[in-house]
Amino acid sequence: MTKHLISITDYSKEDYMRIMELAADFEANPNQNLLDGKVVASMFFEPSTRTRLSFETAISRLGGRIIGFTDSSSSSVTKGETLHDTIKMVSGYADMIVMRHPLEGSARYASEVSDVPVINAGDGANQHPTQTLLDLYSIYKTQGTLDNQNIFMVGDLKYGRTVHSLLMAMSQFENPIFNFIAPKELEMPKEYKQYLDSKGIKYYEHSEFTDIISEADIVYMTRVQRERFSDPIEYEKVKNVYILRNSMLENTKENMRILHPLPRVNEIHVDVDPNPKAYYFDQALNGMYTREAIIAHTLGLK
């Protein structure tokens, strides 16, 4: 069976651990000619420079060749070709497909049409599993384990797909604790809380962002976006409440690290950047090693 990566739940705990191992291996030795003679299609139906460069660098460092497009205006999609036909054609050319698409479920559908493995680089607001795996690698690298982590998630927990996927993935490990800090309008959806309940995993909800983060091993920050609020007055009320400032880090644990999927707006004050606990720029770099690991794992190259 062809191995795809569409949703974070497509991977088992064993897959996660294998990716951690491989990512560490690629970090120690990023240039490995494993994709020699192979062609990877990089199909970005909507632009995402950050994710695309990370993937394409990973492919290049593995010695692979890249075909594809960087947004749908330069592809046959504008001529009205269906996703089905585009994927059918490209899966004939390439050994693997990396795709980003604005419609939700597009990557799952592509994996059912394609003869070669598909890696989802984001399908609308649905899934972005390579982001989650790089988040896991960042936790693994800084904490030395994925077990016994107290994770604080801050900001938009309702629409933030990265926090949902991270919650699902971390729930596979021993004894996680979650703390959710969000305004009422953007709290963690009930289906995720029910999932934690069903697994007997502890979680706490807070609407105030205070010194409770002193317990945290990981503080995962997200953007609070104006367009998420039905009432603009509500946005004005909360927009400056969920900002992390350096002064708030005084009583936090030594091992604590701050993660953010980037780009940030104002939710992490720049005075945090020089603090050794600020990890978000290293996190982005970890993405390239993690994507090398995902490609190698998907094609069974290591």
Binding site: S7, T82, L83, H84, H101, P102, L103, E104, G105, S106, R108, Y109, D123, G124, A125, N126, Q127, E191
Partner: protein
């Protein structure tokens, strides 16, 4: 079972589907493709029902349904009762069950779902029966009973 009732439009052999919510009658006809059937089909609607308020009933001569087919109506007629008739007698009674997978009947409520733009059948898995909750196989969004719309 009241033989008298069945005699109103008695069928020799076939299937009687009872306890259909009146508003779902034509959808049931559609799902079971009775509009394309060459069998004799009779139906009554807006009949009094203690359970449903207004119910509908369909009688199809010489036609018997596979479970797989009839379970497709479970989403819109969860209390439907099937009477299998042979030689004017009810020989078997069946109820409908919501299948684990629902293919091609329900529309995904997420406007950004790929199923709206590609020529492809929709697919859902049932997360819970009571209250009904289903999940789109593609966009992974959960829909509750009042969000479910038929294609």
């Amino acid at each position: 079972m009241t033989k008298k009732k069945l005699k109103v439009s008695a069928i020799n052999e076939g299937t009687v589907i009872d306890q259909i919510p009146a508003k779902s009658l034509f959808k049931v006809i559609d799902i079971l493709k009775l509009d394309q059937s060459t069998s004799q089909v009779t139906f009554g609607t807006n009949l009094e029902s203690e359970k449903l308020g207004h119910k509908a009933i369909i009688k199809v001569a010489d036609l018997f349904f596979e479970d797989e087919v009839v379970n497709k109506i479970a989403l819109i007629a969860p209390h439907a009762k099937l009477n299998i008739i042979k030689d004017y007698e009810v020989v078997e009674k069946r109820t409908v069950e919501i299948p684990e997978r629902i293919e091609g009947i329900v529309k995904c409520f997420n406007p950004k779902c790929i199923t709206h733009t590609e020529h492809m059948p929709t697919q859902f898995t049932v997360i819970s029966n009571e209250p009904l909750e289903i999940k789109c196989h593609y966009c992974e969004k959960h829909m509750s009973k009042d969000q479910i719309e038929m294609l």
